[in-house]
Amino acid sequence: MFAHDFLEEAAQNNALLQIHPHTKLFLGLGTIFLVLFAPHFLIPFIASLVLSITIVFIAKINLKFYLSLLSIPLGFATLSVLVVILLSKGQEPIWSWQVLSWLPLSISQESLNRGLLIFFRIMGGMSALFFISLTTPMTDLFGVMKQLKVPDLFIDLSMIIYRFIFIFIKKAHDIYLAQQMRMGYSKPKEAVKSYSMLFGSIFITSWDAGEQFINAMECRCYNGKYPKNVSYNPVEWRSLTPVILFLISIIISSMLASGYQG
């Protein structure tokens, strides 16, 4: 039931924790952005490879854990890419099959290229996203939001959500174990009932928790704003230079590839 391992835990213990969040976000967001414009599938493939190596060897994230994470998007990507390859248009079909009168399937060089491009764009984008979530804890992201002058209310709401996610996960897990011990998930019908009870009781306890939270905050003179302390190690050229070089090489290779194709 709790199959999703929390990336946050890994993020709090990764080897790149002390690097300034701007550098890390620059790499992650820059790659996400640039990979979208890549004309050939090799570019996102290499970007994904480089970022994965960075995650596993430099940030020291467990390889097995990282691979299990990467398999989450694979299912979605494979299904959607299959549809793209079989149904999108191309000049000369390599293979075609009229399954139903309204559903002609065909594979052409173009649709194959497009499918591969989308597949690796997903992989590239996902590894960049994993890079951000595995190296930058949420608390650092709140600090960056604050520096970017995101409205306080938005940050406060995000922080409360963030805080309560962990409390509720713990509660849900306890209830789930208790239900499982009482054979709560032995039959599908039982499972639906247990699941509803689990969720209902979390809803009610969380509502109570919310009301208590208000009282507790008021005792501490809460006036609708959380004070936030933002301080980081300085941005280092040692880490920023490879990031800039990497991003520039993506841009140059994209430009070369589009020139070659055009």
Binding site: A77, S88, P104, I122, G125, M126, L129, I165, S196
Partner: protein, 231 residues
């Protein structure tokens, strides 16, 4: 059903961001008004956001064999209305992208549009339409939540189909194919989510009905009628 990072080409990613942002910003304005009137609402809203996150992180009892999980925004739409759900949904989707690798940042606009805007709006108006009729309140919740879920999935399929240049089958064919590919998991999931949230509602009515009357979700008579039926 989240669209993965990198699936949408830059143009469509930008378009969905532009479509989703006005709703999120207006939701934020509404949120600010609510908080200014009553600053106690902030923790409750935060908790509701966390709850949506948990609901989407818990895997439902797997019927179809895939790891299906509910969207959870239907309940929030019924409790807080669609605009505030848009902003909460936006934050939750951001967390899902960063914590669980569901969805992505460039596709956040598209995911927000389908999951935090379209689904909740439909669910909310279905609930409003059925609220004062004779229909049992649990059935109202079931229909609103299940339709919100289905609508989310239809919009997601639309977003996927629009992003790919269609061949002989045309745009409609592509749209239907995407609908068909994901129908296997999404239709049972919508029904299951509706049933689960209706049962959750029953649980809340049984144990703490004052939440429902306080938020003016259903009137006291309706709750009495519903409780009477059970006992």
């Amino acid at each position: 059903m989240h669209i993965m990072e990198g699936f949408l080409p830059p143009l469509w990613a930008a378009i969905w961001w532009i479509v989703a942002l006005p709703f999120v910003i207006y939701g934020f304005v509404r949120l600010k008004q609510t908080i200014d009137e009553n600053k106690d609402a902030l923790p409750l809203l935060g908790i509701c956001g966390a709850l949506i996150f948990i609901l989407s992180a818990l895997k439902l009892p797997s019927v179809t064999g895939s790891c299906s999980h509910p969207t959870g925004t239907g309940l929030s739409a019924i409790v807080f209305g669609p605009f505030i759900t848009a902003i909460i949904g936006f934050i939750v989707l951001l967390f899902q992208a960063l914590f669980l690798a569901h969805g992505g940042l460039s596709t956040l606009g598209a995911n927000t549009f389908s999951m935090a805007i379209c689904g909740p709006f439909l669910g909310y108006y279905v609930y409003r339409a059925l609220k004062d009729t004779k229909i049992n309140i649990y059935i109202t919740v079931f229909i609103a939540v299940a339709l919100a879920d289905l609508f989310t999935y239809v919009i997601t399929a639309l977003e996927l189909a629009l992003a790919v240049p269609a061949g002989e089958v045309g745009f409609i064919g592509l749209f239907i194919t995407f609908l068909g590919v994901f129908a296997v998991t999404q239709i049972p999931l919508a029904i299951l989510e509706g049933a689960v949230l209706a049962l959750v509602f029953k649980y809340i009515v049984d144990i703490k009905p004052d939440i429902i009357t306080k938020m003016k979700i259903f009137s006291e008579e309706q709750i009495h009628a519903a409780r009477g039926k059970i006992q």
